[in-house]
């Protein structure tokens, strides 16, 4: 695609701008900011990726993945601000998920250890893990707050913090994983995944694109499960003190 062709695609930005103006939606400013930001950010990433891919330097790959984890942690931690030490808990979870998935992929020779594969797959894994963290933390903090009576009941009967929070923890893990599982059930029927479509447009063999997409989908299942479970088990102990009491907030 040439830059001239790319500039013609701006027509897809003009349509929502006209609609917003006509219907007084007040979204013109945000639409323009979003468009400009996406152009700058993606072009910048494109040039950086080209530089990193060409250099094949392990240091640059490491720096790119670190940057992704830092940005994802920063984004996800706000949803769990009430949980003590949430920043490092999210960071440890993302690092673990990244090491686990890349360890399996490279260790079993499923994908080659090149910048092209590591950075692209890491982006999908860390991005998915970030969304899962946000979904989990949103649900978990709401569950803890709305079921405080139940938690206190179990503690009062001689239960441990783990027993007291068990239902809320399981409900939150399940709820955060449901979107990943549900979207996989309808994949190919309702929507074609963006990555697979991209490969096909770029001229790849559709069967090979499907195989690669399946790999990514299975990977994201693991990412979803490990992120929710790990973040859950790292988070719940901070709600209690040494005397097995629910930490009070006025």
């Amino acid at each position: 695609m040439t830059y001239l062709t790319l500039s013609i695609t701006l027509i897809f930005v003009v349509i929502p701008l006209v609609l917003s103006k006509t219907l007084n939606l007040g979204l013109e400013r945000d639409t323009i900011i979003a468009t400009v930001r996406s152009i700058i950010q993606l072009l910048l990433v494109g040039f950086i990726l080209k530089f990193v891919f060409d250099s094949e330097s392990l240091l640059y790959i490491f720096l790119m993945v670190t940057l992704m984890i830092v940005a994802a942690t920063h984004n996800a931690r706000n949803k769990g601000a009430s949980i003590k030490g949430i920043t490092w808990k999210v960071a440890v979870t993302l690092i673990f998920v990244e090491v686990l998935t890349q360890g399996i992929l490279i260790g079993l020779d499923i994908t080659p250890p090149t910048a092209q594969y590591i950075i692209s797959i890491s982006g999908m894994v860390i991005g998915n893990s970030m969304v899962l963290s946000i979904l989990f933390l949103n649900r978990f903090t709401a569950e803890v707050e709305s079921h405080q009576d139940e938690t206190e009941l179990v503690l009062s009967l001689g239960g441990t913090p783990k027993q007291a929070i068990h239902n809320q923890l399981i409900n939150s893990i399940k709820a955060s994983m449901i979107p990943t599982i549900e979207s996989q059930k309808t994949v190919g029927l309702v929507q074609l995944p963006g990555m697979m479509s991209g490969q096909i447009i770029a001229g790849a063999d559709p069967i090979q694109a499907v195989q690669f997409q399946l790999l990514i989908m299975f990977l994201l299942l693991t990412t979803a499960a490990v992120t929710s479970v790990m973040l859950g088990f790292l988070s719940y102990p901070t709600l209690f003190n040494q005397r097995m009491q629910l930490i009070q907030k006025s």
């Binding site: 206190e152 179990v154 009062s156 009967l157 005397r243």
Partner: protein, 243 residues
């Protein structure tokens, strides 16, 4: 005021605050062993907080609490909570049947609750054995409170803390629960500490009473004190609050 009894729970200058908001200040005194003590006072006086301190759901900011002469921090939290049971005001339930709720205390220890024992306990609290497989959602407020009390009794507590368990009950259910608590006290010698807003109930059921106001103990003694309080603030409360 001195009374001739062994203390089940003794407080020594207990304070409790949360985020700089003082809930209890300078609580000193004892709950007598084997007796029914009622806690009365206006809302926000700190009565529920005091009960939660006894069960270890909260810890004092300063001061000491003794359970039968042993400092409360000397107990493992789980051991303490089985020894000092609490029935919460809202009677929270786990979803499912009455049996599932009665079995909960033992399930938390990894043990199974014998159905025959559960049936016997239900009879003790005035609910027939037919209630065992009823869904919690099908119970009335009074029946839920009875299940809540029965569930607390499964741990065979030496001290039973009751937090306004009759506040939302109709007259018949209220009388039934009062009789049940009296029975538990007489039959098992269980020490009862009972928060109530019903001063008539405190007079009829309680052996002793504590009147709490603004996080402090305003007056304590035998329940008859409610008929002629010495403290002016308590007098005003009793005259304005008797039901």
């Amino acid at each position: 005021m001195t009374m001739d009894y062994k203390p089940a729970i003794h407080f020594n200058h207990v304070d409790y605050s949360i985020d700089g908001n003082q809930i209890l200040r300078g609580i000193t005194g004892s709950f007598p062993q084997g007796k029914i003590t009622t806690l009365v006072g206006p809302s926000g006086a700190g009565k529920t907080t005091l009960l939660k301190l006894c069960n270890g759901l909260l810890s004092p900011g300063s001061g000491e609490i003794y359970i039968k002469d042993k400092e409360i921090n000397g107990f493992e939290p789980v051991e303490l909570r089985r020894k000092v049971g609490i029935a919460l005001q809202s009677a929270p339930m786990v979803s499912g049947t009455v049996y599932k709720n009665l079995a909960l205390p033992l399930e938390l220890r990894g043990e199974k609750y014998d159905r025959k024992e559960a049936e016997s306990l239900l009879r003790d609290v005035g609910l027939g054995e037919s209630f065992l497989d009823r869904k919690i959602t099908d119970l009335s407020g009074g029946q839920r409170q009875k299940v809540s009390i029965a569930r607390t009794l499964v741990n065979k507590p030496e001290i039973l803390l009751l937090d306004e368990i009759t506040s939302s009950l109709d007259r018949t259910s209220l009388k039934e629960v009062e009789e049940l608590i009296t029975l538990i006290n007489r039959k098992y010698g269980t020490t009862i500490i009972w928060i109530t807003h019903n001063l008539q109930q405190a007079l009829e059921i309680g052996d002793y009473t504590w009147v709490m106001m603004d996080g402090e103990v305003a007056e304590t003694g035998e329940s008859e004190l409610l008929r002629s309080p010495a403290n002016d603030r308590v007098k005003a409360f009793v005259q304005g609050g008797a039901q």
